[in-house]
Amino acid sequence: MNPQLPLFPQSASTMAPQVDALFITWSVISIFFTVLIAVLILYFMARYRRRSPDEVGQEEKPALMLEITWSVIPLVIALVMFAWGARVFFKLYRPPANAVEYYGVGKQWMWKFQHPDGHREINTLHIPTGQPIRLKLTAEDVIHSFYAPVFRLKQDAIPGRYTEVWFEATKPGTYHLFCAEYCGAEHSKMIGSIVVMEPRDYESWLAGGPAGKSVVASGAELFQQLACQTCHLPAPGRPARAPRLEGLFGRQVKLANGTVLTADDDYLRESILNPAAKVVAGWEPIMPTFQGQVSEEQVLQLISYVKSLSAEGGTEAGGGTAPQALQKSETKP
């Protein structure tokens, strides 16, 4: 038998000690109350044991103050711990502004990761210390869950939508990566490693690997291959047949049915795979679906590329500002 007997997990992220503090405090409270109840029971058991077969207990009067006391004390403790837990949760939930975006796709039964520079890995994720990392997750088939115990972090990867998790590793080492959501036969083999490295080592690891195109560059290439530019980014002087995409990400979009939404990852994903679902006001629903033609990773690359267009700051982009001559009313005389 393996002789190791760890009792507390290692920690390797900025958030892990905060989760541990919360957990240890709760454990102490739990032990206190469990011991309190146990001691009281054992004491009453001995002190008030039945001494004759006919003996009966002595009835007390209802004690409202006592009832209120032992309702309010647990309530206060629970609410304080709730607030503390929520604080930690919101920190876990909101990535810092300087976080770098990585991608993870779960499928039966492997994790596929892509670094911002285009490096791809399967079941292993190399990351540098001291750099907040946002991991955008989705799944190709069933629900999976990205779980890194040393970071005290878990996030489900859900097919058909994006979820996100962030962390900043603090301690170099090789740590467990698990799938925590049951996903079928080989669920317990959908495991791997998170390799945390000093930034310098990470750089040389990146340099040593096969040179890949960055995610944005792959997206740009795919954009050309799929001929998206014919409609979305036409050459100067030619009429656009679809909303331009510069500056689109993060902006408000008015739809044909009058609703207004923010162009986020999920919206872009849906617009690629199921374009008819949300048509921008003023445009014909002429875009074909790319469902089945692009993989989840390629969708992520396309979205990154569209985001990069925003970063370049196109100002006259998007459906609402499309030239009048190209609007629906006039393309259909």
Binding site: E60, F89, F90, K189
Partner: protein
């Protein structure tokens, strides 16, 4: 509680020399299978749920054996996945949910309120048949190779990717749900309409209050899970696109619908056990439950709040942070009435006349394990902690403390307390105390190491695991074998006692309560004359109650 006329000893039965009771009222299989007597139906349920408990335990045994070693070396992963799925389905839907209401509740609700039977005896019998019909569907899927979705049936795995018998298992649960609804409806109507004269709401035993609260959850919640599972079956057959994103559905929608029932279902399991424990603590401290009204309303509060916390199962499933915050704080609130109950039970012992007979050992064991289960429940409801421990063995340990440490301890305690009422016989005192002790120790050894495993990061539903988790898993398996012995012992001595046990007398514990004011086993019509109630449920120091309960025969060990 008191009756104006105490039961006269009955004339000896014509053939057996015994007093006529529900057991010797008729003989033959037909007299059992067509009975409308709630007490006989309780016995039928006892047999059925015991069979399912044995089956679920067998699956648990095989799971624990596989987990002795880090490598998956005993079963194929597919087999292992079926084992934990079937363990969960059988234990939750066919044992934990029906156990206390359908066995003890069926037997005792009419007796405790002074009624002749439940309001709808035929529906009661029908519920047993429906339960078994559902059980047959599920058994059919097991025999044909089982289901591998986990008892939670998460989509889109269950609707699209699993190649196992999902539909028949889901239909089994769907059908069995109706037996729960029948029972719940029966209890609600019976408690409202059939209380004996003088049995006001605040003279009801807490067992009745908790069964009333449970029935409300059953009637309101079960239809939701029934429809949800029907939707899963429909999506598998018709590809409707309800949950599968490839068809335009939403997989998380399923989780909302599923947990809307399945979280309250935890209270369906634990509330009746709380009712049992209230009875046991009062009977073995010989005094009223401290804060009776508070405990009664706590049951109702748990039932209501229990419907508002389902989202705490989805903190890491892409739920919005604001929704998660609301579900977290509501989950904290539901813990308060539970904590209050624990404090009230403990205070009941104060200045009591405490006797540590077998049922009381189970009840005290319940309080200890439920306290730990409840506290770890509040821990996992804390947002920052759940992100780490969700879907790990910490969760497995937590809900076993509630469901096994809570519900099964309550059920076993109740069986031991009312067995003399049910059978008219006594079981061996030493062996039964030993079994209570084995269950308590074995349980802690099985599940406490799983808290540590979970915080270390071992995910649940793993067929193979990293080697550093082995020692704790071996401890857990060792504990499970002790627990197994603790559960098998009562099976033998209960059966043994039916034939060889000493006659118990009508009230071996010297307990108060209408059920003890009638012969053991009770006659078919429960009471020879309709009882008239003049006191609260646990008034041991009211003189005439005391005189009546302290017959010389009325004592055990």
């Amino acid at each position: 509680m008191n009756t104006t006329t105490t039961a006269e000893p009955l004339a000896a039965g014509p053939e057996t020399g015994e007093r006529p009771n529900y057991l010797n009222a008729a003989y033959g299989l037909r007299s059992w299978l067509l009975t409308k007597d709630h007490k006989r139906i309780a016995i039928l349920y006892l047999i059925s749920v015991t069979a399912f408990f044995a089956l679920g335990s067998l699956f648990a045994l095989l799971i624990r054996l596989e987990l002795l070693t880090p490598e998956g070396d005993m079963f194929q992963p597919d087999t292992y996945n079926r084992l934990f799925t079937m363990h969960g389905i059988v234990m939750v839907f066919f044992f934990l949910i029906p156990a206390i209401p359908a066995v003890l509740g069926n037997f005792l609700v009419p007796l405790m309120i002074g009624a002749k039977d439940l309001a709808f005896p035929k529906i009661n019998l029908a519920s047993w048949y429906v339960y078994n019909l559902g059980g047959l569907f599920t058994l059919w899927s097991i025999v044909h190779g089982g289901v591998d979705t986990g008892w939670t049936f998460y989509t889109p795995y269950s609707t699209h990717y699993s190649n196992t018998y999902v539909i028949s298992a889901a239909l089994g649960i769907f059908i069995t749900g109706f037996s729960s609804i029948f029972t719940g409806l029966n209890f609600i109507v019976t408690i409202h309409r059939m209380r004996a004269p003088g049995m006001t709401w605040f003279r009801l035993p807490l067992f009745i209050w908790s069964h009333y609260a449970t029935s409300l959850i059953i009637v309101l919640g079960t239809p939701v899970v029934a429809i949800t599972l029907l939707m899963v079956a429909a999506e598998r057959v018709l590809h409707l696109g309800l949950f599968d994103p490839a068809l335009g559905g939403d997989p998380v929608l399923f989780q909302h619908l599923f947990w809307f029932y399945s979280h309250p279902a935890v209270y369906i399991m634990i509330l009746p056990a709380m009712g049992v424990v209230s009875e046991l603590v009062a009977a073995f401290a010989r005094k009223p439950v401290f804060g009776y009204k508070v405990v009664a309303f706590a049951s109702i509060a748990i039932a209501v709040l229990g419907f508002l916390v389902w989202g705490h199962h989805m903190f890491v499933a892409g739920e919005s942070a604001y929704a998660a915050t609301v579900f977290s704080v509501l989950s904290m609130l539901v813990a308060i009435p539970s904590a209050v109950k624990v404090f009230n039970w403990t205070s009941t012992l104060y200045q009591g006349s405490v006797s540590l007979q077998t049922p009381m050992l189970y009840a005290l064991g319940f309080i200890g394990l439920f306290t730990l289960g409840g506290l770890t429940g509040v821990m996992v409801a804390t947002l920052g902690i759940d992100v780490h421990v969700h879907d790990t063995y910490f969760i497995v340990a937590h809900f076993h403390y509630i469901m096994v440490g809570g519900t099964i301890m309550g059920y076993m305690g109740g069986l031991h307390y009312w067995w003399p009422k049910i059978s008219g016989k006594l079981y061996p005192a030493f062996l039964s105390r030993l079994s209570a002790l084995l269950v308590f120790c074995g349980f802690n050894l099985t599940f406490f190491p799983q808290f540590i495993l979970g915080y270390l990061g071992m995910p649940r539903r793993y067929w193979a695991y990293p080697p550093e988790f082995q020692v704790l898993n071996v401890l857990s398996t060792a504990g499970a074998s002790i627990l197994g012995v603790g559960y098998v012992l009562p099976l033998f001595y209960f059966i043994w006692s039916m034939r060889y046990g000493k006659a118990s007398g009508d009230n071996p514990w010297g307990a108060v309560g209408l059920e003890w004011d009638t012969p053991s086993p009770p006659p078919t019509e429960n009471f020879l004359t309709t009882p008239v109630v003049t006191h609260g449920p646990y008034e041991y120091n009211v003189k005439e109650v005391h005189d009546r309960t302290s017959h010389p025969e009325a004592r055990v060990g």
